[in-house]
């Protein structure tokens, strides 16, 4: 019983800590949507926070489906 409890707790902890958010992202360029591919975890957060730079223009990024 103790082993089962410990095993379940470890699995639960791994499940929680190994979960990363991933999403397909794009920005709205001058000629329409431009796909950027999949971003996960910290990369996703940085992209949403800083935007995507093309030349002198920083585009707001959308990483979800409407």
């Amino acid at each position: 019983m103790k082993q089962l409890t410990l095993f379940s707790a470890v699995i639960g902890l791994l499940a929680i800590t190994s979960c990363k958010k991933c999403s397909e992202c794009h920005y709205d360029g001058t000629d329409g949507e431009v796909e950027l591919g999949e971003y996960c975890g910290d990369d996703l957060e940085n992209l949403e926070s800083s935007g995507y730079v093309v030349g002198d223009t920083t585009y707001d990024v959308h990483c979800h489906e409407h």
């Binding site: 958010k21 999403s23 996703l44 957060e45 949403e48 926070s49 707001d60 959308h62 990483c63 979800h64 489906e65 409407h66």
Partner: protein
């Protein structure tokens, strides 16, 4: 100083062991076997044996409130004086009927100190046909459901909701940004034993803001002494392909008691009557709860902790300036995490202490609610709105009995320190960082002579609100509000009838959202604009209740009339900003709400399994020019037939419930508000029970909206995007209870 200490110590009475016996009032020679005796202040239960005998240890000598129940007998609630060295006799009256105390109740945490009509209902009765806790509350006459669909549900009491309805959980005032139309009830059914509702201004005992009423959730009691119990429950629903699971564990020893609970729910987008799905109406919830009780001599302590995490999809997201509402109803059902979404985390802690000194009773409690509300609108990792609300409350109450319990005096002090902060990384700041300080003191007298009971009380409150930084160009915003409230009532509680009349007042200062809001609130599907010059609302309610309880039928009529001066409302103005309809806060000199409930419960002697209950609820709201107010619930008739069965074997049919709800057309609408059509809903459920030596299992199957009616809830935010409520929905549920005595005989 020494004299004070001696006098203080001599007033403390020590916990002892008492013996008692439950007997039949009409035939005192005969016992009432296996009666349940619940000690309200201790939160613990003992059972009488087959001779009606029981023993209880570690309670102080003197008056203590008990509830006694036994099958075939009238329930009893009384302040009983336990004396040592003798058999304490408790008498129960026979009852040939088992009318549920739904319509008229003298029980409950609140009713003991109130003449105000208090509706009390057990969770088992509320959940006979299971649904969300918010929707289940709308089965109570006078209570309706608002919100934003899915898991976001807001109670509406006699037409008032949001900041005007205060929610309590075991004496802890719960704060969760309830000003928001999309900020739902912060509680699941996990570990809840009953709910009590006061309809109307209740500021005397529950402080500022309780203008519309109070919803008071009471946890399940602890396990009976020296027993262990546990349960597991799982439920699935068709319309949402949902899974709802919970488990609980209880253990009680002589002095210490512990309850533990955990639960998890996951709901996909709900199915519409057309067979399509409401896009992004999905949600998930996780909750945990711990309650620990301890008593020693004259001291009873309860420590409670609740955790709640919820993620709610927000339907109706679009970038189109003229939205196509049909695009929100899709052919594919999903439960995948998406945006926009609202994510809520709540932590509640309550530390409550009760002391009994013979005829005096002191309660001291301190609690904290921490709420984090985030709304993810355009970005998955960066919330547009990120609010942290930290509320610390304290409550001191002293109660004493005089004149052989014919007069009770209650005095108390309550307060709250609340800090609301926006996370600096959030993209939108809908309400400012602010500090709120409440303090109030009250005094209440309750007297009783034979069948008559009278109550009168007065209270003073002071509130200060101060923003912590500049907000939307407003610097150094600071306001103070103060109010005096009262309550007076008279009741005659007879054997065959109960009459109550109550006058009560309440006050509510405007919230910072009403004063200073200026931004899109996606969860409410609207752009909101505040009004800095709002002043305090004040309400007075006249409430009358007359109930007849005969052998086979109970009938109640409960009209009310409420006036609110300086009524704050939010109304749509003819404008669109960021593709959203614009709503602005305003204030009118006065508003009137009136209406009432009429109900009956018929349990014929010739057909014992049958119960027929029906209630009609109506509310009308208008301003001083007789113009209708917005968001007033439609009139409603709620009828329930229940067949209870006595199983002849260990497995069998327990009960069948059929419910019909008729909601009338609501065409008394405010400016730019649209009418909502009438509709009929049919719900039904069947429960089977299997009893073994140490386990009881209940299998439930049934459905809601069995007619697959396409309908709109007049109070729901989904109406703003022309999204109807869910269509036909079947469910199946299994609950298994385990019980074991820890002490061998």
């Amino acid at each position: 100083m020494r004299l004070v200490i001696v006098l203080f110590c001599s007033a403390i009475v020590y916990g002892q062991t008492f013996e008692g016996k439950v007997i039949i009032e009409e035939d005192p020679e005969k016992p009432v076997p296996f009666a349940l005796i619940y000690f309200v202040d201790l939160g613990s239960t003992v059972f009488a044996d087959e001779q009606g005998n029981f023993k209880v240890a570690n309670i102080p000598e003197g008056h203590t409130t008990i509830e006694v129940r036994a099958a075939g007998f009238e329930d009893l609630k009384t302040d009983f004086y336990f004396q040592s060295g003798q058999i304490n006799l408790i008498s129960l009256e026979r009852s040939h009927r088992e009318l549920d105390k739904v319509i008229v109740s003298t029980f409950g945490v609140l009713q003991g100190e109130n003449i105000t009509n208090v509706e009390r209902i057990g969770m088992g009765d509320l959940m006979k046909i299971p649904t969300s806790i918010g929707e289940s509350l709308s089965n109570i006459p006078g209570v309706a459901q608002g919100g934003a669909g899915g898991g976001i549900s807001k109670p509406v009491i006699r037409g008032l909701s949001g900041n005007r309805v205060v929610t309590y959980l075991n004496g802890l005032r719960v704060e969760n940004q309830q000003w928001g139309a999309d900020h739902g009830l912060p509680i699941t059914e996990l570990g809840i034993g009953s709910v009590e509702v006061i309809k109307g201004p209740s500021s005397l005992l529950y402080g500022p803001d309780a203008l519309g009423g109070v919803i008071y959730f009471v946890d399940e009691p602890y396990a009976p002494r020296n027993t262990i119990s546990a349960f597991g429950q799982t439920r699935s629903e068709f319309a949402t392909m949902s899974t709802s699971n919970m488990a609980g564990f209880k253990i009680s020893k002589e002095k210490i008691r512990l309850n533990l609970y955990g639960g998890y729910d996951n709901y996909a987008d709900f199915r519409l009557p057309t067979g399509q799905f409401a896009q992004n109406s999905r949600y998930s919830q996780a909750s945990g709860k711990m309650a620990m009780g301890y008593n020693h001599k004259n001291w009873v302590m309860n420590l409670r902790y609740n955790f709640f995490h919820g993620r709610y999809g927000i339907p109706g997201h679009t970038h189109d300036s003229i939205p196509d509402y049909s695009s929100f109803q899709v052919n594919e059902q999903s439960r995948a995490i998406s945006i926009p979404a609202q994510v809520v985390n709540n932590h509640y802690v309550l530390f409550e202490n009760k002391f009994q000194f013979d005829e005096h009773f002191l309660m001291v409690s301190i609690g904290n609610t921490f709420n984090n509300t985030r709304e993810f609108e355009e970005k998955i990792t960066i919330p547009a709105i990120n609010l942290q609300l930290n509320s610390t409350t304290y409550n001191l109450r002293w109660k004493t009995h005089l004149l052989d319990h014919k007069l009770s005096l209650i005095a108390g002090v309550q307060g709250m320190y609340q800090l609301n902060l926006n996370d600096e990384k959030a993209e939108d700041f809908l309400i400012p960082d602010a500090v709120l300080n409440d303090i109030g003191g009250y005094f209440l007298m309750v007297g009783s002579v034979k069948k008559w009971k009278a109550q009168a009380g007065i209270r003073y409150d002071h509130r200060s609100v101060e923003t912590l930084n500049s907000f939307n160009g407003v610097e150094d915003f600071k306001r103070d509000f103060a109010g005096v409230n009262y309550s007076a009532g008279l009741a005659r509680i007879g054997d065959k009838s109960t009459i109550r009349f109550n006058v009560s007042s309440g006050f509510r200062s405007p919230h910072t959202s009403e004063l200073l809001a200026d931004g899109a609130h996606h969860g409410s599907f609207r752009y909101e604009i505040g009004h800095q010059n709002l002043t305090t609302e004040r309400a007075t309610q006249f409430d009358f209740s007359y109930a007849i309880h005969l052998h086979d039928i109970e009938f109640v009529i409960n009209p009310f009339y409420t006036t609110i001066s300086n009524y704050i409302l939010i109304e749509e103005i003819d404008s669109m900003i960021e593709g959203m309809r614009v709503f602005a806060y305003d204030q009118i000199p006065s508003a009137i709400l009136y209406g009432g409930d009429i109900g009956f419960h018929y349990h014929p002697h010739f057909a014992h399994p049958l119960h027929i209950e029906s209630s009609f609820s109506m509310v009308y709201g208008e301003d001083e020019d007789k113009n209708p107010l917005t968001l007033i619930p439609a009139n409603r008739i709620n009828t329930q037939l229940r067949f209870n069965f006595n199983k002849k074997s260990s497995f069998g049919l327990k009960d069948i419930i059929v419910q019909h709800i008729y909601t009338a057309r609501q065409d008394r609408v405010g400016l730019l508000e649209t009418p909502t059509g009438e509709y009929h809903l049919l719900n039904a459920g069947i429960n089977f029970e299997l009893e073994k030596e140490k386990t009881t299992s209940v299998l439930s199957v049934g459905g809601r909206n069995l007619l697959n009616q396409r309908y709109f809830n007049h109070l729901s935010g989904l109406k703003n995007i022309q999204m109807p409520n869910p269509g036909i929905n079947f469910y199946i549920s299994l609950k298994i209870n385990f019980n074991n005595n820890t002490k061998t005989k």
